[in-house]
């Protein structure tokens, strides 16, 4: 297990593995997202209360899921980089930030469009919405902090620290609907013991969640290769990697 962990600290190894995984992940993501979108938009029945507006869940929930997951990956990678001084960790964190920020923006925008017909407003200072907005600010802060230092190493460390501190917001976003009174509905997918969705609605949602996760991993692989090249361009292995 530790051998595998040490291998992940090697930039040339990660560069090669990312190249091998990216097309498979993106291909499988396209299939899962394609199935989820068609099944969710065309074949799933309308909700008895929300009608066809509920179909926004098929793009909103996966975006929100990825906004939290990408942040967790970024903070954990930053922590690994700080604790074990693994440079690839900083590259993973840098690669994850813009993807997560874009999904956070998508989650906020689609949630806002869903809120208008259901709650009568595009925006409310609700715990879930506010904590998700703070998540976007954290992403922007981490992305702005990294290049703010002349020394790239210091920029990486400062961004990792901010990401780790901001990780406290992730459970706040997730549990905000339970901890406080909220306009936002509670968890539906997490309740596998007694699912609140009919399988005809649940399966396309699960497919979208899986598809978005694989999409994130695939895009992360492409970005990671770029980040590694940017950081290692004077290394000897880069000559062979570029020639191949």
């Amino acid at each position: 297990m530790w051998t595998w962990f040490y291998k992940l600290a090697s930039p040339p190894y990660v560069y090669r593995v990312a190249a091998a995984f990216a097309p498979w992940l993106l291909g499988l993501a396209a299939i899962a997202i394609g199935y989820g979108l068609i099944d969710g938009l065309v074949f799933a029945p309308p909700d008895y209360q929300q009608g066809d507006a509920f179909r926004i869940i098929y793009v909103h929930a996966p975006s929100a899921w990825m906004s939290l997951s990408a942040y967790t990956v970024m903070a954990v990678a930053g922590a690994i980089a700080l604790i074990w001084r693994i440079k690839v960790g900083h590259a993973v964190a840098a690669a994850s930030a813009p993807i997560g920020a874009s999904f956070t923006l998508a989650a906020l925008a689609t949630g806002s469009l869903w809120g208008r017909p259901m709650w009568g407003t595009y925006w409310a200072w609700d715990p879930r919405l506010t904590s998700e907005l703070i998540l976007l600010f954290l992403y922007v802060g981490v992305m702005a902090l990294r290049p703010a230092f002349e020394d790239a190493g210091r920029g990486d460390r400062a961004a990792a620290l901010l990401a780790i501190v901001g990780l406290v917001n992730v459970p706040i976003v997730h549990y905000s609907v339970q901890w406080w009174n909220s306009l936002h509905q509670g968890a539906t997918v997490a309740k596998f013991g007694r699912p609140e969705m009919d399988p005809s609605m649940l399966w396309p949602l699960l497919s979208m969640l899986l598809g978005f996760t694989m999409f994130y991993a695939g895009v992360l692989c492409i970005r990671l290769r770029g980040e590694i090249l940017n950081r290692e361009r004077s290394a000897a292995w880069v000559r062979e990697a570029i020639a191949s």
Partner: protein
């Protein structure tokens, strides 16, 4: 597809922008990632070429 599908039960102006926006975010992610990698590769090639010239 019938008109009922496109009208989304009267919620078309909310549902379709959400779908379009999300697909645009997915497309942007692919484009931006590929652009980052292509730029990094060009920079690395230049750095290698400069190093080779210095050695010569």
């Amino acid at each position: 597809m019938d008109a009922g599908f496109w009208s989304m039960g009267g919620y078309a102006r909310f549902v379709w922008p959400c779908v379009g926006l999300t697909l645009a975010v997915l497309a942007w992610n692919i484009w931006a990632a590929r652009r980052l990698y292509a730029k990094a590769r060009i920079r690395a090639e230049r750095a290698l070429a400069m190093a080779a010239m210095d050695r010569a």
